[in-house]
Amino acid sequence: MRSSAAERTRPTFWDALVVLAVLAAAGSLLFLFRPRSGNFLTARIVLDHELVAEIELTALTGPVTLEVPGAPYPITVEAEPGRIRIAHSGCPNQDCVHTGWVSRSGGQIVCLPNRLVISVSGSNAPEVDGITG
């Protein structure tokens, strides 16, 4: 016996409801996964795999300094609206201080002796998946 659905040729009220529901679901998904406007920058400070602090760089209104607690060599992080750097470090090689300001999504400051990594990420998708050098 053939199903009643196969015999029907005209759309019913239920067909219309399904179409509407699909459209509503698609719309809400687009809304949920919409790209956020503006370029928000967030810096994550990680000491030996532990997240120490997360700073919204674009939300800052003035300079902020942070002495990273628990670092083997005393280290001072300085953040300003839109950028971050290591201002002072007691580490032997000073590579981290020489890195200077980082203001771009995907940017990174590393203090190897302290096992400290500062990663800057933005809500805008970065243009590159990695940087060689």
């Binding site: 239920w14 067909d15 409801l17 399904v18 529901a21 699909v22 679901a25 998904l29 996964f33 990680v46 795999h49 580490c91 032997p92 090689n93 000073q94 590579d95 890195t99 200077g100 300001w101 980082v102 203001s103 771009r104 940017g107 590393v110 190897l112 002796p113 096992r115 990594v117 243009e127 590159v128 998946d129 990695g130 940087i131 060689t132 050098g133």
Partner: protein, 355 residues
């Protein structure tokens, strides 16, 4: 209600899509650098763990700062009459391959350069500091240069149980120019066996683009601007390739107004002065890319292009990005597809080099 079932099913599938696009990111400290693995795939977490274990194991074999490593044991017995050192299969293969690369580059890459590195202070410490560095005298370097000779590094035995020895007292091996590239080569099959088909392995600036992005497009890899290391001057489109960059900006020091960098010319014992700011080598063979970035920096642009013309299609093949001191950038034709050059504003111009 039956009509609504497909709708719920499709929502369920959509939810699944977004999950698969979220990578697992693993950061680790090994081989005197930071490494970041970004892995996509349903078993990415397990893969990240085994990758981390593999890297730590290789670091334990190839480190010059760990006394029990294959390299430390090999160096400790240099010149002994009955000195053959048993090394791991990975180390034996790496040493043999490094010797081949040395021959390919006419000696511009030589892993027995360790005594010269030590004289400059670029050698054995795991954390470099300004006070480690010094400028050795010409006499001191002339006395050390005969120790730099890959021909006197011998690898024998079977592939499973290799033996290695250095036939001169004072000789030493440093794998800094090839270890990260080789590590990437060994990680790739391990990751693909764990179902990872998309990944970026950043082993201290040595980038391996495994497969493609999850959406099927090539990975986009920025090449660091040697004059402003916060940014990049071009973007390469790559899949299943490793790119390695050597630049004088990476490690350097200044004495009496002269800057000395860490890429040493095995022929002179001095930092290479070849008219280049940086070299990026790209290949599906990670160790080749790693070794060539150093070797081509030493060789200079013209000689590197000659090497590329003669050997660039052999085996895995390779391509180069050569940044010259005058701001001109030579990019070999294999990288032309999907190239996004951004260096004009910073004063760079580029030219595609053809065969």
């Amino acid at each position: 209600m039956k009509r609504l079932l497909p709708l719920f099913l499709s929502l369920f599938l959509l939810a699944g899509c977004s999950g698969a696009d979220t990578p697992v990111t693993q950061q680790l400290f090994a081989m005197n650098t930071t490494m970041t693995l970004t892995l996509y795939g349903s078993r990415a977490s397990d893969a990240a763990l085994s990758a981390q274990q593999a890297i730590n194991r290789l670091d334990g074999l190839w480190s010059r700062t760990k006394a029990s490593s294959d390299v430390s044991r090999l160096n400790a017995t240099a010149g002994d009459p009955a000195p053959e050192t048993e090394v791991a299969p990975e180390t034996g293969a790496l040493l043999s391959r490094a010797r081949e690369l040395g021959a390919l580059t006419g000696g511009a890459l030589d892993i027995t350069i360790a005594p010269i590195m030590d004289a400059w202070g670029f050698g054995t410490t795991s954390v470099f500091q300004e006070s480690d560095f010094r400028v050795p005298s010409r006499t001191e370097l002339d006395a050390l240069l005969p120790l730099v000779d890959s021909g006197r590094l011998h690898v024998s035995g079977s592939a499973e149980a290799p033996l290695a020895w250095l036939d001169g007292p004072g000789m030493a091996v440093d794998l800094g120019a090839v270890a990260k590239g080789r590590a990437a080569d060994l990680l790739v099959p391990l990751l693909t066996d764990s179902g990872v088909t998309s990944a970026i392995l950043d082993l201290g600036g040595n980038l391996t683009a495994l497969g493609t992005r999850p959406d099927g497009t090539p990975w986009r890899i920025g090449v660091k601007d040697p004059r402003n290391t916060e940014t990049y001057f071009c973007i390469l489109s790559l899949s299943d390739k490793t790119c390695s960059t050597s630049g004088s900006y990476e490690r350097k020091f200044e004495v009496d107004g002269t800057t000395y960098h860490h890429i040493l010319d095995p022929a002179t014992g001095y930092p290479a002065e070849s008219g280049l700011l940086s070299v990026t080598a790209v290949s599906s063979d990670g160790m080749l890319a790693d070794g060539l970035s150093t070797a081509c920096y030493v060789m200079g642009a013209e000689q590197s292009v000659r090497l590329w013309r003669e050997h660039g299609l052999e085996g895995a093949g390779f391509d180069l990005v050569l940044v010259r001191e005058d701001g001109s950038v030579w990019i070999t034709e294999g990288l032309e597809d999907g190239l996004d050059f951004r260096g004009e504003e910073a004063g760079y111009t580029y030219e595609i080099i053809r065969r």
